[in-house]
Assembly symmetry: C2
């Protein structure tokens, strides 16, 4: 049928893969157990990595040895070690061993779960793993789940579905079908920035997001939510959705979901609950009360890649009205038609291609078991409370927010020395010098390499955040963080260490 084929180019060398794969498994095992040998934050300057690498791709292929040498030489010293047990910034996350093994398999299998037929295993394991997680979270079966990459994308789909629910003509005719009437979304002033990105993307405009004021514990005030909705209706706008947060990013505050759900029910609004970080604690009896009312939500996002020991990325989106999500996005081009009648995950979102992400969630849930996960979450919360207790007991420190989960917001307010600027006894000394002191305190602590804290602003003030969440973080690490803070503060204020 054809002449003898010309010499085909060589495929990738699997003996070399095997050899270096074994080497890398050992490297990863050492890394996961020994990330403490690195400073949490690298000491590189912008441009260092770029300048250390060639400006162009090689013309000829290179050996794994050469590639992995550069990995160790150039990249490892420029990593921020999210796996370091002293990583207390943002939200601490974990690439747990079963999650890493699952990602190895998932990469090799290279499943594309767009249609059931393009990966029955990935399609159905997604249903199974999300069903398991749903039960652990105590959510009713009416919540159908789907996995997206990030909470940003989950929340985007929630608000797209809310738009579809209230104004289905927008799918075909666009926002101009509303005749100039504006849609409105409500979140607290502590809601995540992804809500703003979503309303911008959806064409609602950033101004469509009404930031409802919070109480002194950073929780949305439901009476002000109701008032805002009513004002908007009177002005001719169309209230569309409310985003309530269980575990806000700055302080992990908990919006009063039950009261908000009641308003959404009465006003017929889509309620999206952003529980990206704290949602996993719904599996703890000690935390259940914070989730009261969330079962009335239209949609909920919980991120296993945050506090469920699952390597990034895996965001679980649960929705009571997944038919509306499908209605908003389902589009089947001729090259993707299938006749098996199965549920196709590509109908549930904007992304056509879908990785086999369910595998890591499934392996993590099985490896640790529900009781193992609960024990880790409880321990992380105990460590945060311990730290909060030390802050509270210290005369030169103040805590800026309650600690419902595993994050402590605090700052130094020295009663003596050059930075003791506020009137004695004043809870909020109004002084830029205090901000500056805390900025320097943060830098000094992070420069230790043993600990990484991040910061936020509350009431206009710079605040330090300690977020516990890594699987290998123990009391010793939290103790060390406290020591570093104390030493750095002493050095800055010329006081003896606490």
């Amino acid at each position: 049928m054809s002449d003898a084929p010309p010499a085909a180019p060589a495929a990738d060398d699997l003996d070399a893969f095997r050899r270096h794969g074994h080497e890398l498994i050992d490297w990863v095992a050492d890394y996961l157990g020994g990330a403490e040998r690195y400073p949490v934050l690298p000491s590189v300057a912008p441009g260092d990595v770029r300048r250390a690498l060639p400006a162009s791709a090689p013309e000829q292929g290179e050996t794994y040895a050469a590639i992995l040498d550069d990995f160790e030489r150039v990249l490892v010293p420029a990593l921020t070690h999210w796996n370091h047990p002293g990583f207390f910034g943002y939200f601490a996350i974990t690439a747990s061993a079963p999650g890493v093994l699952a990602e190895l398999l998932s990469a090799a299998l290279n499943q594309q779960a767009m249609l059931w037929r393009t990966s029955p295993a990935a399609t159905e394991l997604e249903e199974v793993a999300l069903g398991w997680l749903r039960q652990l979270l105590g959510l009713p079966e009416a919540f159908e789940g789907v996995i997206y990459d990030t909470a940003s994308i989950s929340t985007l789909h929630a608000l797209a579905a809310a738009r579809e629910a209230i104004a289905p003509e927008v799918r075909e005719h666009g926002m101009q079908a509303l005749g100039g009437r504006a849609l409105r979304v409500y979140g607290s002033e502590q809601a995540h920035s992804s809500v703003e990105k979503a309303v911008i993307l959806l064409g609602l405009g950033q101004a469509s997001l009404v930031k409802v004021p919070c109480d002194h514990e950073f929780r949305m005030r439901p009476e002000l939510l109701r008032a805002a909705i009513e004002t908007d209706r009177r002005a001719g706008a169309i209230p569309m959705a409310v985003v309530a947060t269980v575990g806000t990013t700055s302080t992990t505050s908990v919006d009063p979901v039950a009261a908000i759900a009641e308003i959404c029910d009465e006003q017929r609004l889509w309620l999206h609950v952003d529980a990206a970080y704290a949602g996993v604690t719904a599996m703890l009896p000690s935390c259940r009360s914070r989730f009261a009312g969330w079962e009335a939500a239209s949609s909920i996002v919980v991120n296993p890649h945050k506090w469920l020991f699952t390597p990034f990325d895996l965001s679980a989106f649960y929705c009571r009205r997944m038919d509306v999500v499908r209605q908003a996005f389902s589009l089947v081009p001729p090259y993707l038609r299938a006749s098996d009648g199965a549920r196709n995950l590509m109908d549930t979102g904007v992304q056509l291609g879908r990785r086999f992400r369910a595998l890591k969630l499934w392996m993590v849930l099985r490896h640790f078991g529900a009781s193992g996960i609960r024990a880790h979450l409880e321990e992380h919360m105990r460590l945060a409370r311990l730290f909060a207790g030390w802050v509270d007991a210290h005369p030169d420190m103040e805590r800026l927010a309650p600690v419902p989960f595993s994050v402590v917001c605090f700052r130094a307010v020295p009663t003596q020395g050059p930075a003791a600027a506020g009137a004695p006894g004043s809870r909020w000394p109004d002084d830029a010098a205090l901000d500056q002191l805390n900025e320097r305190l943060l830098e000094a602590v992070n420069a230790s390499g043993e600990v990484f804290l991040s910061s936020t602003r509350l009431h206009g003030r710079l605040v330090l955040r300690l977020a516990v969440g890594h699987l290998r973080t123990t009391e010793a690490h939290v103790t060390r963080a406290w020591q570093r803070v104390g030493e750095a503060l002493a050095a800055l204020t010329d006081e003896p260490a606490p």
Copy 2:
């Protein structure tokens, strides 16, 4: 400072990780080299996987042995083997060995490249790897790159930026700021469904996408594009962007980019080039002419996870006006402020969290080298042309589209037997029986387990697609595909095999 801590829960067991990690590296090596021992498509029915697994998560943790047993027993038999060299459906993709090793590392490192400081290595390697790829593609330095997960998300960002460029007031005030005037996007009738999902999401409405008719080779007709734009302007709509495709999904047809770019320049429209599949062939001198004019685009998407041997997901987005993308999306909440002045990738899109995807692209480019990649691409195109030649030479087969890259669209049109329904010599016999015959032909070929073809519709007719793109696909596999097609056709039409 505290009492003796209570017994903390055990972290994940790294000895077990090491042991089973080595086992899985061997499994993956065997799999990558031996996917042919599985049928390409699994023989499972919807619900089989779900029913084979427990309905709830285990309360106690389980051993890796138990988990991996279920992986082999339940999941592997339900995989569609995208790594099988007989996978010719959709676009064939490859999880190459260096890509898999990179994903192992990336999972373990668990980098979150939202800010430079949260991963200098991932942030800068993204710049380096995309710079290498840009040079290989022959694109000027004016194109800044960013990695997204999928082409759906890349195209979404392109159109969001186009909206920002033409109507910056929409970011703050929403689509209603346009006073009822509709925005318009133009793509050929062969453009990808992600363009439609994007205009729906952005609030432009599905009707805002004008599908410009194609010529007989499925290429957008530029004179009709210009006419559509002018008609829309006269009607008071606002033309916003054109999506030109180099390598459409059904037939891999190539829109006349240079002519389209000229129109976009003259009309001041954002030109987005969707080269998700075929873009990598811009590195081949033999294909350069198909990309004439693409350097004038505002943005381009090329997916290394399609035809560059990179495990899913990795979509490269190049943009001449990345400042507009940032203008559309940049939002820095207080908990993410950084003062290092570095470029932060979170400013370039809706997704805040970002995996360390650049690592796999970098390792793939180094492992194969530019010349190795070129050789594989050339070989895949040679195999597709070989198959096309067999189709052309067969009296009972017809080819429905040119073969500019590695996809062949064909169908059976028997000249004898019960299905020979069209008038002899008619190129387009208008007969549902022919569709049915080809549907059965497709099913029979795919049932062999040795080969997987997908289908599309052209001119309303069912068409079979053979897409070459897997690293281990050789002439023997393409020959086998042709044999299976011939045998199946013979069985269906009671003719001797070709």
